[in-house]
């Protein structure tokens, strides 16, 4: 298990251009597999256009207390990219006026941003209907200063969404690091103790499942049932929904696919599972991703590939929802990850 980010290791794949080269050449250049653009054109869905904004997703920094094998952010303790208070203020100006019904804070571990609590307090005043914080759970147990996070989340009615790759220790620790499972279980129990995830509670606690290897997620509903039974029986844990998310072939997951000689087979799986009806609802059509330094992207994946939004508005300081609507979404072959099977998004399946 790696303990450093690709960037810190000076890996070739820390370079987004190198990742895009891999995704555009080889099996896609030879014609063995169709490029995403051509595939969606078969059903007259090219170009994909942004609809009305519903979800504003803000990445407050790439620093994380974990170094998960498949992290698409290449996050870790060694990452220094952290959103400043100035950029947060610019985001708040937008949060106060946006038509989006969901605000989604992500990272890294967003809680590690030194201004995280101030930002949550200020953002919660805007009264956005659904305010999500993507918490990796272990951060709650990482240090005393984070132990009160469940109460803090409750106070601001934050919707907590957390990664949990499996209901067993072995599979979870393999993907996310030794000891992650036990800490995550404790954190979930603490969240339950303040009311999160309990049946009929309006304190939402959802889990995100993404596969631990070079395979696609199975049926979200069936997985949710298995997760709920196992976590309740073994640990007395409750949660609300499970989002099954496909690993996109970028960053550390791409590195893993290549190193394990699974890259081609995985791309075949994604293309074979292509579902044209998922294209209509891919998250980039209703989501905007803001990077730690305030730049705008169609999704968190495009942010990591450094593929900025099309159009004049490039930065949160120039934000204009009307101008962003209708823009052509920037695509490459990684987009097959969001259109496979029942589709995949930060909010789970889409088809």
């Amino acid at each position: 298990m790696a303990t450093k980010s690709l960037k810190k290791r000076h890996s070739d794949l820390a370079n987004s251009n190198r990742q895009l080269d891999i995704l555009s050449n080889g099996i896609f250049q030879s014609g063995a597999l169709p490029k995403f653009k051509d595939k969606i054109a078969e059903t007259n869905q090219f170009p994909i256009k942004a609809k009305t904004l519903e979800i504003l997703q803000i990445n407050v920094g790439y620093m994380c207390n974990q170094v998960c094998d498949h992290c698409h952010v290449d996050a870790g303790p060694d990452r220094q990219e952290i959103m400043t208070k100035k950029t947060m203020q610019q985001c708040l100006d937008v949060i106060k006026t946006t038509g989006a019904h969901t605000l989604d804070l992500t990272g890294g571990a967003p809680e590690m941003n030194p201004n995280f609590r101030w930002f949550v307090e200020e953002a919660s005043k805007a009264g956005i209907k659904d305010f999500i914080v993507r918490s990796n759970l272990t951060i709650i147990r990482a240090n005393k200063k984070y132990h009160d996070l469940p109460e803090f989340f409750k106070k601001h009615k934050v919707h907590v969404v957390s990664s949990m790759p499996h209901w067993t220790k072995g599979k979870t620790d393999k993907q996310r690091g030794n000891g992650v499972f036990d800490k995550s279980i404790t954190a979930l129990q603490e969240l339950n103790a303040v009311g999160y995830g309990m049946p009929d509670s309006d304190l939402c606690l959802d889990l995100v499942y993404n596969p631990s290897g070079a395979f696609l997620p199975s049926d979200q509903t069936a997985m949710e049932k298995d997760f709920k039974n196992a976590l309740l029986d073994d640990f007395g844990i409750h949660f609300h929904n499970l989002f099954a998310i496909t690993n996109l072939p970028i960053s550390r997951f791409l590195d893993y696919l290549i190193a394990s000689e699974n890259y081609e087979d995985y791309m075949y799986q994604l293309v074979e599972a292509y579902n044209p009806s998922a294209v209509a609802n891919v998250m980039c059509t209703n989501t905007l991703s803001v990077s730690w330094d305030g730049y705008l992207f169609d999704c968190d994946f495009n942010q990591m590939l450094e593929l900025p939004v099309n159009g004049k508005v490039k930065h949160i300081s120039d934000y204009n929802e009307a101008l962003l609507k209708g823009r052509n979404i920037v695509i490459s072959q990684h987009c097959y990850g969001c259109t496979a099977g029942a589709g995949s998004s930060c909010q789970g399946t889409v088809a």
């Binding site: 209901w167 596969p211 395979f215 696609l216 199975s218 049926d219």
Partner: protein, 111 residues
């Protein structure tokens, strides 16, 4: 022509069998798909049965396919190995139970 009897990439071409016998091929795949849907047994239970049978049939394509399928359904490696032991136990039991036939024959011929 491949120099080996089995090529992992041939699994992707399974659907091509329909090209030379469309009606039967389509009927087979329709039946196959239906069998693995959620029913009185869950799709997960069916995938584990398929994994065990894939081993008793010693079909490398099926082993690849149902190893991946069970992984996708969150099945653990311990569960997968136990399922294979069920198949192996039936295989060995099926061999050994014929020992009774051998014993009957011995008793008849040389009893």
């Amino acid at each position: 022509m491949s120099k080996t009897y089995y090529d992992p990439t041939d699994l992707r071409k399974f659907g091509n069998i329909t090209e030379w016998s469309e009606e039967l091929g389509n009927k087979f795949f329709e039946y196959y798909g239906k069998v693995f849907e959620e029913g009185a047994l869950s799709a997960r239970e069916k995938a584990l049965i398929a994994l065990a049978v894939a081993h008793t049939e010693q079909c490398p394509y099926c082993i690849d396919a149902y190893t991946k399928d069970t992984l996708q359904r969150g099945v653990t490696k311990e569960e997968m190995m136990e399922a294979i032991h069920v198949g192996a136990a039936i295989k060995s039991g099926a061999t050994l139970v014929h020992g009774v036939q051998m014993m009957n024959k011995v008793n008849k011929l040389d009893g």
